[in-house]
């Protein structure tokens, strides 16, 4: 592992490692509860990519913004959204981040600057430059991070937003999580040119490509670039190479992948890699085991809470639509 760029004191690494464990355990629980019939809809798991969200968000302030995409659980947890409220949301329960009105693809926590996951690929790009424009207008020193997948780079809004962010020199960090596949399509086969970094550079947006599964490389790169952006560098892009260990969503067995590919990728997965570093740097296996057991118990508790939590009252379906011209609540839902 490359630890040159990092201030990798063990306490900091342990904190990041723990966050990765929380994301991993959350995603495993989300998948299990999907199959148990407790969670409906599309559950896009972030398993195998945890180091990216954690390494980036570790370098953000609470008041910085984050705009996520459909695979947003990891981003949300890393930015500080509470996994309990998120689990309740996945279950569609009252007390969820949106009281069950959004579900997996619409998790948000504005209190920690997490401005929303998004069900429409690449729309976060245009919204991010807008939020950055607000930051500029209000003379704040926040920045915004926009997460996008490799598949998203072929939508127009990505190209528009890169151009826009550079024209107005906005404080945006685009992070492309390149897991090389978009749903069932190998991105390389449908992408002309050399891809994401080259596209950013063609707009004079500096781009770096890193090993996204290397927590220290993500952390070190993010520390440098986020500080540059905060100091007025204008937009930049990080392409974090990674691998989606599971299917596109929980109910996808990824049968379209060459046999053995995912198994081979396991040796490179970020939780195990960070664990190896910790063991090599003085942590004991039983300490790691204890941490994992704690995290697993924490998430299991949230699953239990989510099972017990009340359903939202049907009348909630009719609130928070709009102030002017708000809908009536039908008799049956009162």
């Amino acid at each position: 592992m490359n630890n040159e760029t990092l201030v990798n004191e063990p306490a900091r690494v342990i904190a990041m490692y723990r966050k990765m464990l929380v994301i991993r355990a959350f995603e495993e629980a989300a998948g299990e509860n999907f199959f148990a019939g407790n969670v409906r809809g599309s559950v896009h798991q972030y398993i195998g990519e945890e180091s990216i969200a954690v390494g980036i968000c570790e370098n953000l302030r609470d008041d910085d913004y984050l705009m996520s995409n459909h695979r947003g659980h990891g981003h949300s947890i890393a930015k500080g959204a509470h996994p309990r409220a998120m689990m309740l949301e996945l279950f569609g329960k009252e007390g969820g981040t949106s009281n069950g009105k959004g579900g997996s693809m619409h998790i948000a926590d504005f209190s920690v600057g997490m401005l929303g996951a998004n069900g429409v690929i690449a729309d976060g790009c245009t919204m991010s430059v807008g939020a950055a424009q607000a930051i500029k207008l209000l003379k704040q020193d926040r920045i915004i991070v926009n997460f996008i997948g490799d598949g998203g780079i072929n939508r127009g809004p990505f190209m528009e937003a890169l151009n826009w962010a550079k024209v107005y020199e906005l404080p945006v960090l685009f992070v492309c999580e390149n897991n090389q596949i978009a749903a069932t399509t190998t991105t390389r086969l449908v992408t002309a040119g050399e891809g994401i970094a080259k596209r950013a550079e063609s707009f004079d947006v500096p781009a770096v490509t890193i090993d996204g599964n290397d927590l220290f490389e993500v952390d070190g790169t993010a520390a440098r670039i986020i500080s540059e952006i905060r100091n007025g560098s204008g937009p930049q892009l990080i392409q974090a190479m990674t691998y989606r260990l599971r299917g596109h969503f929980a109910h996808d067995d990824a049968g379209y992948r060459p046999a053995g590919e995912a198994e081979a990728a396991l040796k490179n997965e970020p939780v195990a890699r960070t664990e190896t570093w910790l063991l090599e740097n003085g942590l004991k296996q039983d300490e790691l085991d204890r941490m994992r057991a704690e995290v697993d118990a924490e998430i299991a508790g949230y699953v239990e809470d989510a099972k017990q939590a009340p359903w939202p009252h049907p009348s909630l379906a009719f609130t928070d639509v709009q102030d002017v011209g708000a809908p009536n609540v039908p008799e049956a839902a009162r």
Binding site: Y65, M67, G96, T97, S98, N99, G100, K101, G102, H106, A108, D109, F110, S111, L115, G116, N118, G119, V120, D123, C125, T126, M127, S128, V129, G130, A131, A132, Q133, A134, I135, K136, L137, L138, G156, P157, E160, A161, N163, W164, V167, Y168, T319, D320, V321, Q322, D323, V324, G325, P327
Partner: protein
């Protein structure tokens, strides 16, 4: 009181709101030097600077999407799309993001933005610059839809739209840019959203209309008055929410409803009003709207599309016969 055009009145309303609230700003193509298609932004960049009257690239998705993001991040943007036809490049950002963010996020967010997208026939700009798609947006939960009809109301309703915490689709009619009317500059109040205006009182039949078509309906009512037919004309001003009380009260009194709009009749918003009135009052209802054709270019063809006063008058007489 001073006389000004519909475009000048909108400019005044925007200027007043930008002076009042430093978080109000506008973004769109050609707002600075050109001052907007009809001068509705003229000289505002000189007063407020390039960060508040932002000249953008030709990137409609981002004009709309950036407005959503900027609204989520604590400002009140006005996204200028120039033509409702071009706004179609950004329907996703308006419908999937602006309209739903508050709901999807369980009330954590508000999207106080105005999507300004002029509608209607101005004369000779044909099929991709003349449409009236206002009904589309009335169908979308979360959006407010406004269609100002006079200079004073274009100022007052724009103020209301800017102050509103919901995303507002603001559809000025291009044929009205030069229309002149009285504006009381001392009156800083907004024209309330969702409240119709009785343009003319009458007792035999109610005509409901909006935007430029209101003037044509009033012209028809005037000529009918000469023949002893008394028509009440209502300008809805806001399509969502539409002023149900005003319409029901009026039709309750006159006993007949005719909705007239420039937009294509099929799937037009007139159908919604006619159906609601028929369900609630059980009285005769009818609609007049454009044929289901693209807006043509040549003068006689474009004229053939329009709903003229004589056609409205004939329809009223047929309903009363």
């Amino acid at each position: 009181m001073s006389e000004m055009t519909y475009a000048q009145a909108a400019r005044l309303g925007l200027q007043e709101e930008m002076r009042r609230d430093p978080t109000v700003w506008a973004l769109g193509e050609d707002l600075g030097y050109e001052g907007g298609m009809a001068g509705q932004y003229s000289d505002l960049q000189a007063e407020f600077g390039e960060d508040r009257i932002v000249d953008t690239p030709i990137s409609e998705s981002t004009i709309m999407g950036a407005a959503v993001g900027a609204a989520l991040a604590g400002t009140r943007p006005i996204a200028e799309l120039r033509f409702s036809d071009f706004a179609m490049c950004a329907v996703d950002e308006l419908v999937n993001q602006a309209a739903k963010a508050r709901y999807m996020f369980g009330g954590q967010a508000r999207v106080p933005m105005v999507a300004r997208m002029p509608i209607g026939i101005r004369g000779g700009i044909a099929a991709q610059h003349s449409q009236s798609p206002e009904a589309w947006y009335t169908h979308v939960p979360g959006l407010v839809v406004v269609t100002p009809g006079t200079p004073a109301e274009n100022r007052g309703l724009l103020k209301a739209a800017i102050r509103c915490d919901d995303p507002v689709v603001y559809m000025e009619h291009k044929g009205l840019w030069g229309a002149v009317g009285e504006v009381d500059e001392d009156d800083q109040s907004e024209t309330p959203l969702g409240v119709a205006r009785i343009v003319r009182e009458g007792s035999d039949l109610t005509i409901v209309s909006w935007a430029a078509q209101v003037g044509v309906a009033a012209e028809a009512a005037e000529s009918l008055a000469g023949e002893g037919v008394s028509v009440e004309v209502i300008d809805l001003r806001t399509l969502w929410p539409w002023d149900r009380d005003a319409v029901m009260n009026s039709v309750g009194k006159t006993g007949r409803l005719l909705v007239v709009h420039e937009a294509v009749r099929v799937g037009g918003f007139g159908g919604e009003i006619a159906a609601e009135v028929a369900e609630e009052l059980g009285v005769p209802v009818a609609r007049l709207g454009g044929e289901r054709i693209p807006i043509p270019f040549s003068i006689p063809l474009e004229e053939a599309y329009k709903i003229k006063a004589d056609r409205i008058a004939a329809r009223v007489k047929a309903m009363l016969a």
